[in-house]
């Protein structure tokens, strides 16, 4: 068996890559994908911990996270489409009609 801590290190790397994507990319859709990668890293962590505790709570958690992610992505992409209709861009640097 693979020690659980290996999974935790993998999850940490994936989470860090997701966070990096959020910080360096300016394309709203890619930023959104990076957020999904971060959620996925957390999910991996939950399942790995659930395995090490031999309890199912962690797996149930992932089930709910997947459901919530679906809702969040749907709303997020709808907002991206709405923004694109008026601005013809999804570069987050161009979202600055308000200042102060």
């Amino acid at each position: 068996m693979v020690p659980v801590s290996y999974y935790l290190a993998l999850a940490a790397i994936l989470f860090a890559l997701g966070a990096l994507g959020v910080l360096i990319r300016r394309n709203a859709i890619i930023i959104f994908m990076s957020i999904e990668l971060m959620l996925n890293a957390a999910n991996l962590l939950f399942v790995a911990f659930a395995r090490s505790f031999e309890s199912l709570d962690g797996q149930i958690y992932v089930f709910f996270v997947i459901a919530v992610a679906a809702a969040e992505v749907a709303v997020g992409l709808a907002l991206i489409v709405t923004i694109f209709r008026t601005k013809h861009s999804i570069d987050i640097d161009e979202l600055s009609s308000m200042k102060g």
Partner: protein
């Protein structure tokens, strides 16, 4: 090195490679495809960790529904090649530095916990069977389960509100 470890490191390399691919692709469609690959490998990890139900949900909902939605929107908007307008130069080094700090910290935190280094014992064969998950969802987790149904309904309503074009007469 046992077969288990070889499998783990092979898949881990694919998962990390796919994540990097998503980050660095210039084309948003490639990014989405790399992310699907990443989700699929994570689903295999879920199987290895004794979570067949979650693995299936991951493939069906994440790799299936959510990523198809992403691809659909990218193609709808024709946003494959939208490139960065003006790269803010100072942001990138800071982002990389922050990420490294985060990474070192989390790995330190994880290996700081000696107990988890130990191998896990094999679990009973009915661990995480769909029956066991279903029973938990409808007993202990009944309330969150019901809340999820409301959340999904409302997300649907919200999306329709946002996407619907205003009528021509007003």
């Amino acid at each position: 090195m046992t077969a288990d470890l070889i499998l783990f490191f092979g898949l881990a390399a694919v998962a990390i490679g796919a994540a990097l691919g998503m980050l660095l692709s210039k084309n948003a469609v490639y990014s989405a495809l790399f992310l699907i690959l990443n989700f699929a490998t994570v689903a295999v990890f879920f199987l290895l960790l004794g979570a067949p139900f979650i693995a299936m949900a991951q493939v069906a909902v994440y790799a299936g529904a959510i990523m198809v939605l992403f691809l659909f929107v990218i193609m709808l908007l024709g946003a494959e090649q939208l490139l960065t307008s003006h790269k803010s130069g100072w942001q990138r080094p800071i982002a990389i530095l922050l990420t490294l700090v985060l990474l070192v910290e989390s790995i330190y935190l994880i290996f700081g916990r000696g107990r988890l280094l130990s191998q896990v014992a094999p679990v009973a064969s009915d661990y995480a069977s769909p029956e066991a998950i279903g029973e938990l969802l409808f007993s202990r987790y009944l309330l969150p389960f019901e809340v999820t149904s409301i959340l999904l309904l409302v997300a649907m309503v919200g999306v329709i509100v946002l996407i619907k074009k205003p009528k021509a007469n007003n």
